[in-house]
Structure formats: structure tokens, C-alpha cells
Amino acid sequence: MRQITIITLATIALFTLALTQHSGGVYKTNTGNISFFSHTPVEDIAAENHKVKTAFSSANGKLQFSVLIKDFEFEKALMQEHFNENYMESTKYPKATFNGIIENINTIKTTTQGIYTAKVSGKLTMKNVTKQVSTTATFTVKKDIVNAKAVFNVNPADYNVKIPKTVINKISDNIKISIDADYAHQH
């Protein structure tokens, strides 16, 4: 008898958990794009990552990103190696994450096609350093997908990225990060 009660309780607990996580609709992709661009008079450095995992909830506005540092692709293989080995230390810190919120999620109607402006803020974590960031994003609700685009800037020094003096004039202290993701509704 008791065992049945326990199993029932556990099942209810698990279901509640599952429901709270998926209520209102989660929009998700594993192939989001993030690129960054560092401009200095000496050198421009650009890289792209097309394997970004990201999702948002249209119910509570939660917005999350998980980015593997090793998936950033550079035009020059040597730059990619230096990015991973010397600057981001990607073996030690393999991921960058963002855990935030779309503040005005109520004004974004994911069921009505159109273009919406969203205020996004949250915690960006890179190399074990977490900082509050905020930006304005554009959500475009299309027939099957919701596209989101955003741009913001980071200073590598804020995230414990050490740049030697010899190359300090080649790497910007205001690196532009561009996000472009097509989210699909999860059923």
C-alpha cells in the first residue's frame, strides 16, 4: 500500500516538474549562430559558431544559451588554435553560457506573425566569470519559426582573457558579438 502511495507521489512530482518546464511553449534550436568581430587598425579578427544551443520560454520569458568555445571557426587555423589555447583556454573552460530573461515577453506574441523588440538581460558566463549583460533583441515571428537577432559588446579583460602586451594593439577591447537564431516550437 505504502509503496503504491510513494510511486503515485513520485509520478505526480515528476509530471508536475515536466509540466512546469514545458508550459506555455518552449522555442529551441541547436544550430543557432553567434559570430564575433574584433576591429583594430592593425587587424580584424572574426569567427563564427553555427552550433549554438539556445531556447526561450514564451510563458515566463526565460532565455538561455550554451556555446562550445571550440565550435568557433576562424578563417585562419592558427588563429583558431590561439583562440582556444591561449585566450579562451577551452579545455579548461569549454562552454560559455547565458542565462537570462526577455523582460517584455508579454508583448511578444509567438502566435502572431510580426516583428517585436525585446529587452533582454541576464548573466553571461565565460571562463568562470559571470557578468550581467543586457541588450535589445529583435524577434521576428514567422510561420514556422521565431527568429531572434541581437548585438552586444564585451571587453575580453572582463572575462579573465589575458592579452599579452605584444599583441594588445591587434585585439579590440570592445568585441562585437552578433546573435542570429531560428527557434522552432517544441511540442
Binding site: R2, Q3, I6, L9, A10, A13, L14, L17, Q21, V26, K28, N30, K53, T54, A55, F56, S57, K62, Q64, S66, L68, K70, E75, K76, A77, L78, E81, H82, N84, E85, N86, E89, T91, K92, P94, T97, N99, P164, T166, V167, K170
Partner: protein, 287 residues
């Protein structure tokens, strides 16, 4: 008993819920394949090849010097008065297939090689414990014949080296490489000498900082294959990376900057102080 079980179950549910708070919308635990990169800073350990290759359409221009003996003292400025050198480069046909050429003033030798990396160390979804590559060299000496009056064959100028390179990045800082090597000389000093010489190279790299590492390399030649005055080559040095360049500064007892030379023609003994200072400068160009 059942109560404990219930508490335990509740505990699991609660903790999993707490963890899920983090990135609960993402399936972030899917394993991905993580290929090991930068087992060595550059495609040479010191004298010999490392498993690293240059990327597709990149050209790695190399200038290598080995000076005279350090124990020559101030009179020879610690060996800097003499030098053997090689100029050459490695080119990436693909990320894993490289070709290279070079020319050394040691016996006026031209050399060429083909290198193919066929296994990459990886963790995660696909696990591979080692990186492995094959490299085959051909060398041709172009010095004038010492006895031009006799019949000299062009084939006598040729020598070959084949190597299997097996490396593992043990930790973020420590990498180890084993290189079973076969050198074939078309011409040897006497009929008693074998044309084929077996050896194994051992290479070690320990990072000191992200940009500087200490490297060691030893080629053990299976005994009784070489003349009495020949000895195994041992090299110790540093890799210093400065953005586009890698500088390798080292001490070695080998004079020749190509495989057949430093594996089978080394005569100088570390224990007698017959050590040379040497360097390789590598610069990558993109096409």
C-alpha cells in the same frame, strides 16, 4: 524503511529540480566529440616531425640553424662561427595531408616529404586515445663525387626515411610522442653495413605557460647498425610562440637538420660537451 526510501526519492526529485533551474530549457548534456588540439606547438618536436600538420592552404616557412660546438669557447663565440642550416617549408594540401621541401647545406641535401595524419585524439562521443601520422621523406645529396673517375650512380645520392608518429596529449601541459623510424640509404660505406636502419624517436613536450614549452627529443637507434663513431641524437629546447611565429631554441648533438642526418650521422657526444645551439623559426603564410 519505506519512509527513508520516500525521503531519498524526494531528495532526488528536489535536487534534480535545483540543478534544472540552471539551463533547464536546453538539452545541454548531449555528448559531443572533442578533438584534441595543439598536442605540440608546431610540426617539429625539435629536429624531427611532430604529429601536427599545417592547415589547408597554409604554408609554414621554416629556417633552421644548428651552430658549432658550444665548447668552442669565446674564440668561436660558442659555436656561432659555424652553422649548418636548412631552409624549407611545409604546405597543407588538406588539414591532414602535408607536403614539404627543403635544402640543407649539410652535404648539399635537398629533401622532400609527404605527411598524412590519419587518426586524431578525441574525447566525448567518439573516443580516440592517440593522434597518429605517417611521414615519408626522400633526400638527395648533391655534393660533387669524391671520386669522379669511377662510375657514380645517381641512385647512390638518395636516402629515404619512413616514420610512424604516435602522440598523446596526456594532460593540458604534457604531450608524448613515439616515432618508430626506418632510414634507408642506397649507398653505405661497406658491404657489411645494412642499408636499412631501425630506430625509435621519443618526444616530450611540457608547457610552461600558454606560449612557452620545454621540449625533449631522443632517437634511439637499435644497436649494431651504425659505425662505431655514431651516436644517438638528443635535443632539449624551448618552443616560444609569438602570434604568427614559433621560435624553437634548443641544444642538440646532431648537426644535420634532416631525418637521415640527425638519426644516423650524429657523432658528437653530450658527455664530451660537444653540444650545439640551434634554432628553428617558423612563420605561417595563408593562401
Amino acid at each position: 524503511m519505506n519512509r527513508i526510501y520516500l525521503l531519498f526519492l524526494l531528495g532526488i526529485i528536489l535536487t534534480s529540480n535545483v540543478f534544472a533551474q540552471d539551463l533547464d530549457l536546453l538539452d545541454d548534456d548531449e555528448p559531443t566529440t572533442d578533438y584534441t588540439m595543439a598536442t605540440f606547438k608546431t610540426n617539429r618536436v625539435v629536429n624531427g616531425h611532430s604529429i601536427e600538420t599545417v592547415a589547408k592552404r597554409e604554408f609554414d616557412f621554416k629556417i633552421s640553424h644548428r651552430f658549432g660546438f658550444v665548447n668552442g669557447g669565446v674564440y668561436d663565440l660558442f659555436g656561432l662561427d659555424q652553422a649548418t642550416m636548412r631552409m624549407g617549408g611545409d604546405f597543407g594540401i588538406t588539414d591532414n595531408l602535408n607536403i614539404g621541401i627543403g635544402r640543407s647545406n649539410e652535404a648539399k641535401t635537398y629533401d622532400g616529404f609527404v605527411k598524412y595524419k590519419f587518426l586524431r585524439q578525441a574525447t566525448g562521443a567518439k573516443k580516440t586515445p592517440i593522434t597518429a601520422a605517417w611521414v615519408s621523406h626522400i633526400g638527395v645529396t648533391t655534393q660533387r663525387w669524391t671520386q669522379p673517375q669511377r662510375e657514380n650512380l645517381f641512385s647512390s645520392r638518395l636516402h629515404y626515411t619512413h616514420q610512424l608518429l604516435i602522440a598523446r596529449k596526456m594532460t593540458e601541459g604534457l604531450s608524448i610522442q613515439l616515432s618508430p623510424t626506418l632510414v634507408h640509404k642506397n649507398l653505405v660505406d661497406s658491404a657489411q653495413r645494412s642499408n636499412d636502419i631501425l630506430s625509435i624517436g621519443i618526444g616530450v613536450r611540457q608547457k610552461l605557460t600558454n606560449r612557452i614549452s620545454i621540449n625533449g627529443e631522443y632517437f634511439y637507434v637499435v644497436p649494431d647498425q651504425l659505425e662505431q663513431d655514431k651516436i644517438n641524437s638528443l635535443s632539449l629546447g624551448f618552443d616560444i610562440e609569438t602570434g604568427g611565429h614559433v621560435f624553437q631554441l634548443f641544444f642538440t648533438n646532431a648537426a644535420a637538420p634532416f631525418e637521415k642526418g640527425f638519426i644516423t650521422d650524429t657523432k658528437a657526444r653530450w658527455l664530451d660537451g660537444d653540444i650545439r645551439f640551434g634554432f628553428n623559426i617558423a612563420r605561417i603564410f595563408n593562401f
